[in-house]
């Protein structure tokens, strides 16, 4: 495929660490304009860290991150956000202590512009009626699903160039997950490239055109979505075998390997 414009998000040989604990070992992949990429892998593979590195929450120790062709390596998260990258973090992505409306206003002032705040609010309440009913409640008082919808609503009204959604389905009822994924599909239709971090392989692959499979902080697969399932399932199964072996061994050697050596 020939490409005239640069990928909207590109990671190149990214290494990252939390203090002394290293988490990523040379991760590279790219997301084309308007594409949807599923980021798969077992617990602790580094999926969330990849998301945080892309949005600038975790500093890159080596390698580079480019958003829309611009090198943003080492820039603070707010600059990367202004460059057009939106990151909905794992768990709670809203301000508990602010009201639903304040959450939206805070977001819309930056993304849609000051003049557009009230029309954006109307559109958000139209798209997510549940939020409109509870607009004056504290966001912390919403249910988990509603909070997830709120964090999507903040983003969807003025679609960013790329949206990273970290474990949006975690802990939600299936019907609510449908709502959330419908929101993601909306975003994609309006031209936003998606990076979907997900443990539910089926959900993610149904939406995505390509996929990245991570294991122990490194990319083991990057390619079309169809081929990802087998790799992802194999990685998870191997992780289970390692853990079972460790559990059946007795004595001080029973600790699983430390994670930086012995990967594929």
């Amino acid at each position: 495929m020939t490409r005239l414009e640069p990928p909207v998000l590109e990671l190149e040989a990214v290494r990252a660490a939390y203090g002394p604990y290293r988490a990523l070992f040379g991760v590279s992949f790219s997301v084309d304009r308007g594409a949807a990429v599923a980021l798969l892998g077992p617990n602790g593979a580094g999926k969330s860290t990849v998301a945080r590195v892309a949005s600038g929450l975790v500093r890159v120790s080596s390698g580079s991150v480019r958003v829309d062709g611009r090198d943003v390596t080492g820039e603070p998260a707010w600059r990367i956000a202004r460059a057009g990258l939106a990151h909905v973090p794992e768990g709670r992505g809203v301000f508990d202590s602010l009201s639903v409306e304040e959450n939206l206003v805070l977001s819309f002032r930056r993304r849609a512009g000051r003049g557009e705040v009230s029309t954006s609010l109307e559109r958000a309440y139209e798209r997510f009626p549940a939020l409109g009913q509870r607009r004056h409640d504290r966001a912390g008082a919403l249910s988990g699903g509603q909070q997830r919808l709120l964090s999507l609503a903040k983003v969807l009204v003025a679609p960013p160039k790329v949206l990273i959604a970290d474990e949006l389905s975690l802990g939600l009822a299936p019907s609510v997950i449908d709502d959330v994924y419908a929101g993601l599909a909306d975003a994609r239709r309006s031209g936003t490239a998606l990076v979907v971090v997900e443990q539910q392989i089926d959900r993610a692959l149904a939406l995505a055109s390509s996929a990245v499979v991570l294991d122990r902080g490194a990319v083991v697969y990057f390619g079309p979505a169809q081929g990802a399932r087998a790799v992802a399932e194999e990685v998870v199964a191997r992780r289970h075998r390692v853990e079972e072996d460790a559990a059946t061994q007795v004595g001080p050697g029973a600790r699983p390997p430390a994670g930086r050596e012995g990967r594929t």
């Binding site: 939390y18 002394p20 998260a77 707010w78 973090p89 992505g93 301000f95 304040e102």
Partner: protein
């Protein structure tokens, strides 16, 4: 009615002065997430510099105002943000409280060092002339310039700030940034700048408050600002640190009620002498017990806090066998060298100092147990030490009990008081607990320790040789040294045993996660009361030991400032280990003694040095001594590993 007005109306400017500070505290908490114990100190700094420029250097008022309020105020706020609070993860309440405390302790001690100990006699007023009576309220209540500036300033400040926080986007971003700076950055907001702006704003408010209210007090003294701060803290607590308007109203009420009561109560009564000065503390305690919002203060957590790296392990866990052997042997060699020196060639002045350091070490062990092991912050440890000392003194005086036996009973009494304090604050944690213990310490300072029946007045109780063999202690410090050494070894061993035993594990579990500890069946309330009781007993033993060394038990030896300084000092050196407490105790007196050789002006620097040290606490919660130990251990391990080519220990990464 006329009389009531006559008493109540003069209370309004006092109330407004309290309100200005209460609103400032709520503002700082709402916009930066920090309960700024140093707020009063900031105001004091501006007032001090203002008065110093005008009086000692004859600056025109406007220039002094520009320098002390417009530049120094926000400047201090920015410095606090840039070098201190920005580095503290929002989940670390203890670090925030301790950093605030070190400002409260450090700034007033630092100012005379910088500007000289000049006696500043009141600052000039900016807007209104303080002594001019502008008009009368009713028939004969005069309204002067102080009155007008306090009231006007409070009202204008409240209105402006409420509008700023509730209606502007900056206000919205500030409130959001308190909850999670990272989440705010993901919105594309320059969160560091928003926080810095908030600190500058709070600093400006503190500076304004200091300079505008300075003429209310006759002289510019740190003590005035502390009294003011207590009333302000009480008002802010009543508003659950959330509503500036509620805080302002409560503050005015405190002022009015205090002055009205002062007018009506007979001056000789118990109510006048003991209850009235304690009134703001009682309000604070009441708020802490009754306002439900205060129990949830630290609950709103940053959802992105897992981005911060986990804390490093303590040095003792990193030691290999070889280094462990060297350290242990070195410890015994040093101990014998120390005991030998103390008993032979140590000059008497230094022997006295080190003896005192050992008494402090025992008190500091109580901080190790309570804060280091159980994770509970108490700002009343000096008070507990005082309770034991006064109990022992009074028992000896009235019952003729031997002072050492009295010390044991005194430690028991301190333990009981600590347990009561723990029971009263069972539902509080973090900042709430810190405020509760601070209120208790202030209560004892103001209402109980000065009482004739407790301390025998400000002079204190002088130990007599009929209570314990003072002659034995008199010729040199040897006898006292051996007594202190015995007590210290017993207490340090006891704390170490508790830390390693079942109770220690329970307490450590509680420190790690209250929810998790409760989940595995730890009886949290009981463990907390137990930790407080044990810690109170230790503080009591240390207090009695200190009293023997000083031979006088004076209330000033056990005031709340010392409690604050104690916590700050121990956290600086290392709160997790027994060695940390002993290093803190010896360090405190050695630094103090060394400063005796320094110029007169620098002698107040002890607390400043430790406050500066505590500022490193933000980055290294394990304490600087512990940090250096870890670094040296790692260095030594590297050297050894290099020499033996032995496999290095590997660490396991987080999932």
């Amino acid at each position: 009615m006329e009389q009531l007005l006559g008493f109540a109306v003069p209370g309004i400017p006092y109330g407004c002065a309290y309100a200005v500070f209460a609103v400032g505290l709520v503002l700082t908490y709402q916009t930066t997430g920090v309960f700024n114990f140093g707020y009063g100190a900031q105001a004091y700094a501006s007032a001090f510099v203002f008065a110093w420029l005008v009086e000692n250097h004859a600056w025109p008022t406007w220039a002094a105002f520009l320098c002390s309020v417009v530049i120094l105020g926000p400047g201090l706020g920015l410095v606090f943000d840039r070098f201190l609070f920005r580095r503290i993860p929002s989940t670390n309440t203890t670090a925030r409280v301790v950093t605030g405390l070190s400002l409260l302790v450090g700034i007033p001690a630092l100012l005379p060092v910088i500007f000289g100990n000049g006696n500043l006699v009141g600052a000039p007023s900016i807007v209104f002339n303080p002594d001019t009576v502008y008009f009368h309220l009713g028939s004969d209540v005069p309204v002067n310039g102080i009155y007008l500036s306090a009231v006007l300033f409070a009202v204008v400040m409240l209105v402006v700030l409420v509008l700023l926080l509730r209606t502007t986007s900056l206000g919205l971003e500030m409130r959001a940034g308190v909850e999670s700076r990272r989440l705010l950055e993901l919105e594309g907001v320059n969160a560091p700048r928003v926080t810095a702006t908030a600190w500058a704003l709070c600093g400006l408010m503190a500076g304004l408050a200091g300079v505008l209210l300075a003429p209310t007090e006759v002289t510019v003294q740190a003590q005035d600002y502390v009294t003011l701060m207590v009333a302000a803290i009480a008002a802010a607590a009543c508003a659950a640190l959330r509503s500036m308007s509620v805080a302002a109203v409560v503050a005015v009420l405190i002022g009015v009620v205090s002055l009205t009561a002062q007018g009506y109560l007979p001056t000789s009564s118990f109510w006048y002498s003991a209850v009235l000065p304690a009134f703001p503390f009682l309000v604070l305690v009441g708020a802490l017990l009754l306002v439900p919002g205060l129990r949830r203060l630290d609950e709103a957590k940053d959802p992105l806090s897992s981005v911060d790296p986990p804390p490093p392990p303590p040095s003792s866990r990193l030691r290999g066998r070889e280094i462990d052997w060297i350290v242990r042997t070195g410890f015994w060699v040093l101990l014998f060298a120390f005991v030998g020196s103390m008993l032979t060639w140590m000059p008497p002045s230094w022997e006295t100092v080190l003896n005192q350091g050992m008494a402090y070490s025992v008190i500091f062990l109580s901080v190790t147990l309570l804060t280091g092991t159980a994770g509970q912050l108490s700002l009343a440890q000096a008070t507990l030490a005082g309770i034991a000392a006064f109990t022992a003194g009074q028992l000896a005086r009235h019952v003729g009990l031997d002072f050492l036996a009295g010390a044991v009973l005194g430690a028991l009494a301190a333990s009981v008081v600590a347990a009561v304090l723990a029971v009263a604050s069972l539902r509080l944690r973090g900042l709430g607990l810190a405020l509760m213990t601070l209120a208790a310490a202030l209560l004892f300072d103001v209402a109980i320790f000065p009482a004739q029946a407790v301390s025998g007045g400000t002079g204190g109780i002088t130990l007599s040789s009929s209570w314990l063999p003072l002659d034995l202690f008199a010729p040199d410090g040897h006898a006292y040294f051996l007594l202190a050494l015995l007590v210290l070894v017993v207490c340090a061993g006891g704390v170490a045993l508790v830390q390693r035993g079942t109770v220690g594990r329970f307490l450590a579990a509680m420190r790690g996660s209250e929810l998790g500890a409760a989940g595995v069946g730890v009886n949290l309330p009981w463990q907390r009361v137990l930790a407080f009781a044990l810690s109170g007993a230790l503080a009591g033993v240390g207090g009695a030991l200190l009293a023997i060394q000083q031979t006088v038990i004076a209330p000033g030896e056990f005031n709340y400032q010392l409690s604050l300084a104690f916590v700050v000092i121990v956290l600086t050196t290392g709160v997790g280990t027994v060695e940390g407490a002993i290093q803190a105790g010896i360090g405190l007196v050695v630094v103090e003694q060394l400063l005796q050789y320094a110029p007169q002006r620098l002698q107040g620097l002890t607390f400043v040095l430790f406050a500066l040290g505590a500022l490193t606490y933000a980055a290294h919660p394990e304490g600087i001594v512990e940090l250096e130990k870890r670094r040296w251990t790692e260095r030594a391990e590297r050297v050894l590993a290099h020499r033996h080519r032995s496999p290095a220990t590997s660490s396991v990464g987080p999932s």
